[in-house]
Amino acid sequence: MCGVCGIVSHDDPPDLALLRRMMGRLGHRGPDGHGYFRDRRAALGHTRLAIIDTSGGAQPLCNEDGAVWVTFNGEIFNYVELGAKLRHRGHIFRTASDTEVIVHAWEEWGEGCFSRFNGQWAVAVWDRRAERLVLSRDRLGVRPLFFIRRPAGILFASEVKALFADRSVERAFDPAGLEQTFTYWSSVAPRTVFRSIEQLEPGYYAILDRDGFRKAPYWRITFPDRGREPIQDAQENTEALRDRIVEAARLRFVRSDVPVGAYLSGGLDSSVTAAVIARYTDAPLHTFSLRFSDSEFDEGRYQEKMSAVLGTQHQDVTVSRSDVAAVFPEVIWHAESPILRAAPAPLFLLSKLVRDNGYKVVVTGEGADEVLAGYDLFREARVRLFWSRDPGSARRIRAAELLYPWMARSPGRMPAFARSFFGRHLDPDDPAFSHRPRWDSTSAIKGMLSHDQQDAIDRAAAEDVVAMMPPDSKDWDPLSRAQWLEMTTLLAGYILASQGDRMLMANSVEGRFPFLDRDVVDFASALPARHKLFGLEEKYLLKRAFADLLPEDILHRPKQPYRAPDAASFFTPERPAWFEAVMAERAIAAAGVFEPSLVTGLMAKCERIGGENMSNTDNMRVLAAVSTQLMHEYFIVGGGYGALEWPLPDPSIAVDLVKDDRSVP
């Protein structure tokens, strides 16, 4: 796992000093070394977290004759198999790294190489023969890749902060990006929350050459038509799913030249991945967990149980509300987006625990909820669909009690709540039937926007994600449509970004996600919906597939979504000084995103109640306001957090064809 950056220039040779500043801002992603390549048209930079071929895999790296160069962040887990094929076809390798496979794969298969990769990547290939830059990103957006297009060329980088190393880059929020964030929880690629900056869509490659800039997908999230799934037999699918998950977890554990640990949340998904590693590999397993001083969020009992069952060396970190508040500014600096939950902050502290214990790779259960249908949202949608068939039915309305047992214990409150939450947007033909209540609820944040910001949003007309749905999705199962929306919005934009890559890489730790393996995702997408959500039983097939490896109380415990203390974190007696500064009325007015009086009114209300028992809406409003204010401070005003650039030691690779050979074209 690493940081990548680069410049392609149509006129003067790329500015090496700028490339160095960009690499300096990606130092946390690659503290083990850095390198660069430059010719008259392009410069590639790389900061390295050495994991595979630690002695020989320094980047940027080239092919046999130096015509193709690559800078690469990520892992190609099937690099051994692809390398064998490429050697058979005559390619000569100098290293044992997965990076070199990319170079030769590009030579051999061109754009067709990306669909052959099974991994997580953000990569830039510079083909000097054609003066062609190729950017590519993995299927689901595990690794980030941002860029700025302009008449003089292109700038790209793993993180936005590296692009802002170019002082000529406009620093402004993109109203449409904010609109998406305050609806879907994140901007949707190619948009970002910054006006001048784009991100490459997951599953895409982009090309910049003499014919200009263009991009295309090499893979799409897709599902079979309902009833036309290739395998209907549950047992056959159970065994095949198990085989794929075992292989995906095994590959992610053994294809590393440094030790790999595992997260253990106490839930089903991370228990499965840890159990598979413990069963199918020989190495001792070190597991890491997050605990909370608030018992409401703590899953320590299950973590300890699972660790004991697997016999792992286990460590945890306990996070309090004041811990969340203390690290929140650094979290936003790394997340590079407003966030509506504080949940990334504890994950930042967890990756620090991993790093402090000498590990730089962890396997986690991320992606199972999206790929195998674990979220409450999917169950809620099914209940709402059931209810929509006869909204007046006294029997059907009771279905809400199956989602939330407290309703059964508070029958007096049930009908009113059920009607208010589930009783809206009940058009079964709506492609976004599953997501309307969430989007509706999130959009309440927009009630706090300043008039100017609201006007800008209205003028910007952000893309509606529903319009991006494939035409054939009308024939998919409703669960498949919900999965598509979840994977396109929340997974790529928030779970894998603000909660994933950014919180891991902030502490120089690589996450590996077996449930997002190419073969697991393709197989799971082709399953009948009932094999994922059977009635209201979530991740049905996953539970069947690994029933022998997990204790009963882990296997059958009710789903507990990962949550952390939210707004309450900012209303404790230990509140850090930064809060007063960024949330002052004049600071809110200066940022211009929110109406100052509405934000200060909300803060006063939270102050009065000490952040306790706040509504979901107020929680999100507080998080949105605080994180947006910090974003403004760090990225728009431009102060950044702490030292902007890491000191770079001598580079491992330093190829400067402009300086070394003036005759090089």
């Binding site: 549950a234 059931f386 068939r389 029997r395 059964a408 059977f534 009635g535 039983e537």
Partner: protein, 69 residues
């Protein structure tokens, strides 16, 4: 959906049956599953523990409603 698959699904449904909860609520849980998997619609009278508690009765109900669809 062929008969073998229907029978398999009904066996799987039977294995999930929870005896320790409110029978009326269990009938609702079963109705959600049956409507989703088999593409049928149950009347309020059919969302009833007496109708949905027995697997052979459920099989007959599904066959009848699928036949009517």
């Amino acid at each position: 959906m062929n008969r073998d698959i229907v029978e398999q699904i009904l066996r799987e449904y039977d294995a999930l049956h929870r005896a320790d909860t409110d029978p009326e609520l269990e009938a609702v849980r079963a109705a959600i599953l049956l409507e989703d998997v088999f593409g049928i619609a149950l009347s309020d009278a059919e969302i009833d523990p007496a109708v949905l508690a027995d697997s052979s009765a459920v099989a007959a109900l599904v066959a009848r409603l699928q036949g009517a669809a």
